[in-house]
């Protein structure tokens, strides 16, 4: 077994496929964890924002010279309460007292306005306090950003008059500049945002992971059903074989995708979780594996090593597991890889039709495509909302198929080039 | 002595495996075949018989590589030619090659006549279909194949018929040398006999001038070829006429090989079979000295050092053992006497 794995890595095709696949996987795991936002967190105002660097307008005002600074007036406690829960206020007080040197007891949960005032004056999102892990730091950064959004509309621009009173006023002219370094919230959207104002890159990478998980579940379901039926049908032969072959043939003649549409549709929106949809994809994809395994087993069961095993008094299940399964294992691994790639594509197709997983917590590549279609990304020219997603799907399927071809060449030497 | 049709001088070729290791499968083979003669090659599997057959065509493609030596067919040296040139000018016209699985080479979607056309057109584009057909009918008739075969698909023919058809097609341009590698091993005995009969006819009618026949079936070889040479680990270790080789082998390895023959003939039932223990050496790193030394029971310490050069004796026979012919024959005689007293004999050391 180990030898075969080593052999696989000698095949250039497998190696290239493997490298592409692992890089995609690594990006999908690492990037969303390091990102400032949750994959589905709304950051900007609705509307497709093209890729580029973005600056929060509030921040621009904040960094103006001393005579123009923002203050808080008349914080509406109720409105704020909707955004900042009591628990968050506790956490803020704790943070201020522990890290920012505010005397203990000076702040109370009831006086949110003061807490927020202190928070805005003392908290520096760019500074990472000692003893704080990255995830915590990012969580606070996100919280701060959320707070700023919540406080939107309660900020006015003021300047100091001769008596030293603050006078309301505003006005920026074309010669007002700030240094970009002084702006706290410079957001970088490498792939722009979608129609909801969510960062495309974070969303897409996390969606890749979800799609992959769906592919894996569907692939495992399809392969295990196909493998079990194929083994049983091929080895036992006779009536069992006929029965299984009959069912397999029925599944083969009905176009799988139509079956998939019908099943997912009948499940209804409520029943379509990520796991359920992937299991359904798997349930419609097993016949090919079953047929292929069956034909392999048919030729294997007449081999002398199986006869020898029988003559050694081994039971039927043992012969299937020990004398047949290892011989088809390499083939099954290839079939599994292929099933994963087809399942990823099937999910994308289903979701495009609006029959994909019904979920608000995670995105899948298919859902992203559907959203792009729904909000006319194509018509408004927001290419960043679908081209990267298409490429991601294609690249994933490509790398998996490349690995499959590579393995095929390792296991079937007559297919090797040269 | 007749005209020499095929002459090979110190031919060396190798296989390069996927892991870039070299396997020296043909390591210094020299031979001569005169007009109208056939040569048999015998040996265990893995001793380089089939590689020799491929190498003799002069057509090298990965993983087989040419190292050195000359192949001279009727005065023309083909060893330095480019593969393309060999394919155009040598294959089919100078040399024809029949492997064991030749009968599976016929594309089942085309009629037999189409393959004849392909072979003829590869060398002579001007011939018309009619001429080719007439030529094929005439040749098939001489070789005892019905002309109806020409208008059939290969799947309609039996295994033996297919093999004979392939032989007839590949020799249609009357090549000078025919190299047959186990051409009848996959067939039943009756078809085998028909294939052999046809190859003999090809020789007798002069369609081919010389033949190399490779097989592990020694009784067959004895009946087909004039001379036999025994190969071991990429080298020729003995050569002589078929009768001499079967009934009076000199080299301990040939002796063991011939001692393993069983035929359904009266009296042979009580003959003690001989066995050579061990396996041929790994040709990635051939042993120094005599390659058979590790399995030989007549081994003396000097066997394992220095290259064994061929010894030529009695009527151009050749062997590659350190011992003299007389010494070996004496030893064999003594053993025979000891053996008839009821002792078990085994060639070689355990």
């Amino acid at each position: 077994m180990f030898h075969q794995v080593k052999q696989a890595f000698r095949s250039p095709k497998f190696l290239v496929g493997f490298i592409i696949f692992t890089s995609l996987l690594a990006a999908a795991i690492i990037y969303p964890a390091l990102s400032m936002w949750h994959p589905l967190q709304i950051i900007t105002r609705p509307g497709f924002a093209p890729p580029g660097r973005y600056v929060n307008i509030q921040d621009v005002i904040q960094v103006r010279p001393l005579d123009r600074r923002m203050i808080l007036v008349d914080v509406d406690a109720n409105r704020l309460g909707n955004v900042v829960a009591d628990e968050d206020v506790y956490n803020m007080i704790y943070f201020l007292e522990t890290f920012l040197g505010v005397p203990v007891g000076h702040l109370s949960v009831d006086d949110q306005a003061t807490v927020i005032y202190y928070w805005n004056n003392y908290y520096d999102p760019t500074y990472r306090h000692a003893g704080m892990i990255m995830a915590e730091h990012l969580a606070w950064t996100r919280f701060h950003a959320q707070l700023q959004v919540a406080l939107d509309g309660t900020i006015i621009i003021a300047y100091r008059d001769e008596e030293g009173y603050l006078q309301e006023g505003a006005g920026f002219d074309t010669q007002d500049f700030v240094h970009i370094r002084d702006i706290v919230n410079v957001y970088h959207f490498p792939l722009g945002t979608d129609n909801f104002g969510r960062d495309m890159l974070t969303q897409m990478l996390s969606a890749m992971l979800v799609s992959l998980r769906m592919g894996l579940i569907a692939g495992l379901v399809a392969t295990s059903i196909g493998l079990t039926l194929g083994l049983v049908s091929g080895y036992l032969g006779g009536f069992v074989d006929d029965a299984i072959l009959f069912i397999t043939n029925i599944f083969t003649v009905i176009p799988g995708f139509i079956l998939l549409i019908l099943i997912t549709y009948s499940l209804g929106p409520a029943g379509r979780g990520v796991t359920v949809v992937s299991a359904v994809i798997g349930l419609t994809a097993w016949p090919w594996t079953c047929r292929a395994v069956r034909s392999q087993v048919l030729s294997l069961r007449n081999r002398d090593h199986v006869n020898l095993s029988k003559l050694s008094g081994h039971s039927m299940p043992r012969i299937i597991v020990k004398d047949i399964l290892p011989y088809v294992a390499s083939y099954v691994v290839m079939a599994l890889i292929l099933q994963i790639s087809t399942a990823i594509l099937a999910e994308a197709q289903l979701s495009m039709l609006g029959l994909g997983p019904n979920t608000a917590e995670v995105a899948t590549l298919g859902l992203m495509m559907q959203w792009a279609t729904m909000f006319s990304a194509w018509q408004v020219g927001a290419w960043w909302a679908f081209v990267p997603v298409i490429l991601a799907i294609a690249l994933m399927a490509f790398s998996l198929n490349l690995m499959n071809t590579g393995l095929d060449q390792v296991f079937n030497p007559q297919l090797r080039d040269s | 002595m007749g005209k020499v049709i095929l002459e090979v001088k110190d031919l060396k070729t190798k296989y390069v495996t996927r892991f870039k290791e070299s396997v020296y499968a043909v390591d210094g083979v020299s031979l001569q075949i005169e007009e109208g003669k056939s040569l048999g090659v015998a040996g265990e599997s893995g001793c380089g018989k089939s590689t020799l057959a491929l190498s003799l065509m002069g057509y090298y493609f990965a993983p087989l590589h040419y190292i050195s030596g000359d192949i001279i067919i009727d005065g023309k040296n083909i060893s330095g030619m480019k593969p393309d040139e060999v394919r155009k000018n040598v294959l089919g016209r100078e040399v024809a090659y029949i492997p064991q699985a030749a009968m599976n080479a016929l594309n089942p979607t085309q009629k037999v006549i189409k393959f004849v056309e392909d072979v003829v057109r590869a060398h002579d584009k001007s011939m018309s279909k009619k001429d080719i057909y007439d030529m094929a009918v005439q040749r098939f008739e001489v070789l005892g194949l019905p002309k109806e075969v020409l208008s059939k698909y290969s799947v309609e023919l039996s295994g033996g018929m297919k093999q004979r058809t392939v032989i007839a097609i590949s020799t249609i341009k009357s090549p000078k040398v025919l190299i047959a590698d186990e051409p009848s091993s996959a067939l039943d005995v009756t078809s085998q006999k028909m294939v052999i009969k046809m190859m003999r006819e090809l020789m007798e009618k002069g369609y081919i001038k010389a033949m190399i026949f490779i097989t592990h079936e020694l009784p067959l070889l004895y009946n087909v070829t004039d001379d036999i040479m025994v190969m071991y680990a990429g080298q020729i270790i003995e050569r002589g006429t078929a009768h001499e080789m079967v009934f009076d082998p000199v080299h301990p390895y040939s002796k063991g090989l011939m001692g393993s023959i069983i035929v359904p003939e009266a009296g042979t039932r009580d003959v003690k079979l001989e066995a050579i223990p061990g396996t041929p050496p790994n040709l990635k790193k051939p042993p120094p000295g005599c390659r058979f030394a590790a399995r030989c029971k007549y081994k003396i310490p000097t066997c394992e050092h220095g290259e064994r050069s061929p010894r030529i004796f009695d009527n151009n026979r050749m062997h590659r053992c350190i011992h003299s012919v007389e010494y070996l024959q004496e030893r064999y005689k003594n053993e025979r006497e000891a053996g008839s007293k009821g002792k078990v004999s085994e060639t070689g050391a355990e």
Partner: protein
Amino acid sequence: MGDIIKSDKIAVDRAELEKRPSVLRGDKVTKVFGYGNSKTVAVNAVNFNFREREVISIVGESGSGKTTLAKMLLGLIGVTEGDVYFKDAKRDISSHRKKKEYWRGIQAVFQDPFSAFNIFSKIDSLLLDCINLMGGKKFSPEKKYEMMSEACSFVNLKYDELTNKYPFELSGGQMQRLMIARIFLLKPKILIADEPTSMVDACSRATILDMLMKLRDEVGMTIIFITHDIGLAYYVSDTVYIMEQGKFVEVGSAEDVIISPQAEYTRRLISDVPKIHEEWDLSTV
């Protein structure tokens, strides 16, 4: 051929052979594959009687049904019609337990050593399976080790060099010898050898035949060779059965059948085999 050394084979006394108890007997054994129009009769109502310590060859060309017959005798495929008697009692292999019992008495050596071993399991487990089948599951590890070493040394292999190895690490001849070591452990009443030497080199052939004969003398088993090699059949067997299209066309002692064949088919078959001492007549085809 070189020179002739008389072998120490004992000529069988036919009259004595006929008196030995029967180990495997067949009465109108028939095998039909397929149904209706696609029906083919592979073995057509053959009768046979194999006796204790007898060496039998069933000779036939490919497609003659000899392998099908061997598989029926082994109980690997069912018999369509007719009865098989094992040690004069009607054979009963209706359950797995009964089959296991039957297989303690009848075993096989297969043609192609490269496909006869499971390449994923180690040599040790192959030999241990035999000990288990013979009811040695509870033996101490030392006892098992001793048995396996003995079996390996019988076929000139060293168990200590084989342990923890996989079959594909051996040469073809070694694998075939290992197969015989297996038989040595099982000591069955009957051994069916399906072309045991056709895939090994001529030089290993003698070793393998020698070992099989030695084993027969030691264990007292009946050996049934299934072969297309008439030379081999003549060389090893007491009795030869010639099979053509599912039927036995000629049965008798090796000397009678091979040297003075009566049936037309046998005569043709023997004339088609290349000879050494006599002229091989090519004009008959």
